[in-house]
Symmetry: C2
Subunit: 200 residues, 2 copies
DNA sequence: CGTTGCTTTGACCAGTTGGTCAAATATTGC
DNA sequence: GCAATATTTGACCAACTGGTCAAAGCAACG
């Protein structure tokens, strides 16, 4: 997407996307201004618009890039692996993403909360198909007696909800837990929860 | 808050708050306009501003009203009740709120994701104290051997995350599950999950 | 009926917003 | 060093934003 171009183009496009992530993830699309993004990227507004044709273009570029990273871990679920370990590894990976890429998580959350006007099709298409596949795998595991029977959709939702909570509601989590880092204990909790829920 | 006044005042104030909930929960504070709220409330912009002094005032009124309803179920946790039933009843109540008041949930989510600029103090004060109390109760139950030992903070976060997910990410949940109503199966899943996690 | 106070509105304002454009400035390849 | 190209900028614009205000409409009470 942002491949071609001179060094300076690459540098500025990257700076814009990073700044855009900062701003959009905090204020949502409508709540953000080009000027905010430009300033944070160290550019003037017309200069930013030399690299991206519009505010919308920056936002959709971010969203497209994000969606790839978002769907990828789900694809890594291996039906031939150990069921409990596979699911716990997936959850752990999602939790790591919340810890290390919280802005991406919040950008996504903002978009979904606002009704997913730009990625509704991806949700109903690619994501839905992917979850259906995963659902089959989980059901297979359950039928083979390798995990407790669970509703696979809600299991996936639960993993998403819990892991993303630590990114999206970070400020609330920290307000409640104080100075303790939430992620260490969160990982143990998640581990325990899934093991308890899935072990036969 | 909106008690005094004539019938017409009450009617219009209520209409404004309802419209404000609609708009703010979808677009966040900065992404919403007074005009949107006014139109949705069936009023002209100056007329709306006759009842509320500013956009901010509508928003904070909503937030204040919301916070009460939000904290109340937590207070209802009874340390003398049956531990598993108490926690499951709390989770069920939160899930019901997600089902019947999704906009409230999304308004809250928007505010938190954007850094809780207006309710940071409540989070660090009242909410934190409340969760600390609940945490003591849960720890007490665990020490008495009435539930499995769990990290009480993360247990509470898990209940919040999972239940609110069905309101905040409603569009994603429905995109994936299709025409099936998520809430019936979600309730069973939540029930099963908590029982599995907490039963000794 | 008329007056008093509540309600509604059109016109308006200053600041912000997304976006344009021509001109100025840097960079690059020769 | 110079021409071609890429980058940056100040000035600008129309639309929109939150908010004001004086005047008009309306209800109710005597």
């Amino acid at each position: 997407m942002a491949k071609s171009g001179t060094r300076i183009q690459k540098k500025n496009q990257a700076a814009i996307l990073e700044a855009g992530l900062d701003v959009f993830s905090q204020f949502g699309f409508r709540g953000s201004t080009i000027d905010q993004v430009a300033t944070k990227a160290g550019l003037s507004k017309p200069n930013l618009l030399y690299y991206f044709p519009s505010k919308e273009a920056i936002y959709t570029a971010l969203l497209a890039q994000l969606l790839e990273d978002w769907l990828e871990p789900l694809k890594a679920l291996d039906r031939d692996g150990d069921p409990v370990e596979e699911l716990m590894a997936y959850a752990k990976r999602k939790l790591d993403m919340s810890q290390h890429y919280p802005k991406e998580s919040r950008l996504f959350a903002n978009e979904i909360i606002q009704g997913a006007p730009r990625i509704g099709d991806v949700l109903k298409g690619e994501l839905r198909a992917l979850v259906e596949e995963v659902s089959d795998v989980i059901n297979g595991w359950a039928e083979a007696g390798r995990i407790r029977p669970v509703n696979p959709y809600h299991l996936v939702f639960t993993i998403w909800a819990v892991t993303q909570h630590y990114a999206d509601f970070d400020v609330q989590v920290r307000a409640i837990m104080g100075d303790v880092d939430p992620f260490d204990s969160a990982e143990r909790h998640l581990d325990d929860m899934l093991r308890q829920m899935l072990s036969v």
